[in-house]
């Protein structure tokens, strides 16, 4: 059991279209995160959540929104995708005691 899954794993879309990535966890963890990974930049935090309907911005939040209506689901939305948002997106959940992160397998998004 993965404990945390992302969907879709791959997506190709066109500039200007809306895109939603879904992160689903089965561990009932409070903390969830969305990161993007680009060559030379490592993992950059987009948004994170510390509970249902409790979210906050990370360092690269412009152009992204999130929602968390249930503990198990954390959605990342690109309202109008741009080519600069082509990236690999990782979702993660944080364990309650130590805060270590478990990452999903990643979603590769290409915006043409």
């Amino acid at each position: 059991d993965a404990g945390i899954t992302q969907s879709p794993r791959h997506k190709v879309t066109e500039t200007g279209t809306p895109v939603t990535l879904r992160c689903h966890q089965t561990e009932n963890h409070r903390y969830m995160y969305w990161y993007r990974q680009d060559p030379g930049h490592g993992l950059r935090l987009i948004h994170y959540s510390y509970g249902v309907k409790d979210t906050d911005k990370g360092e690269v939040s412009d152009g992204y929104s999130v929602s968390r209506s249930k503990t198990e689901d954390f959605l990342l939305t690109l309202e109008s995708a741009t080519s600069s948002q082509t990236s690999v997106y990782f979702c993660a959940m944080g364990t309650p005691n130590t805060g270590e992160l478990f990452f999903g397998e990643g979603s590769r998004l290409t915006v043409l």
Partner: protein, 111 residues
Amino acid sequence: QQPVQSPQAVILREGEDAVINCSSSKALYSVHWYRQKHGEAPVFLMILLKGGEQKGHEKISASFNEKKQQSSLYLTASQLSYSGTYFCGTELSGSARQLTFGSGTQLTVLP
């Protein structure tokens, strides 16, 4: 603010040692270390908390210098399986679990 990692890349022979450094300009509450293999998700190695002790995991250990806001990851007697990109993640004091990662150190272990 993103922590600074050094070096950016390291090439080793099997059995050699390596040190990866991570530094922040702000007061840290914790430092995490992760390893990512090509095409895979990052995997947790260890966490060091403010006021905590040096951690170890087999031949991989780490330290946290609170005065300098620096952490170092030590890989001893490297194995081929150690190859990958290593990331440090830092949590600032009072940041409520907001984890910011460095740009990574690519480690290659050759036979």
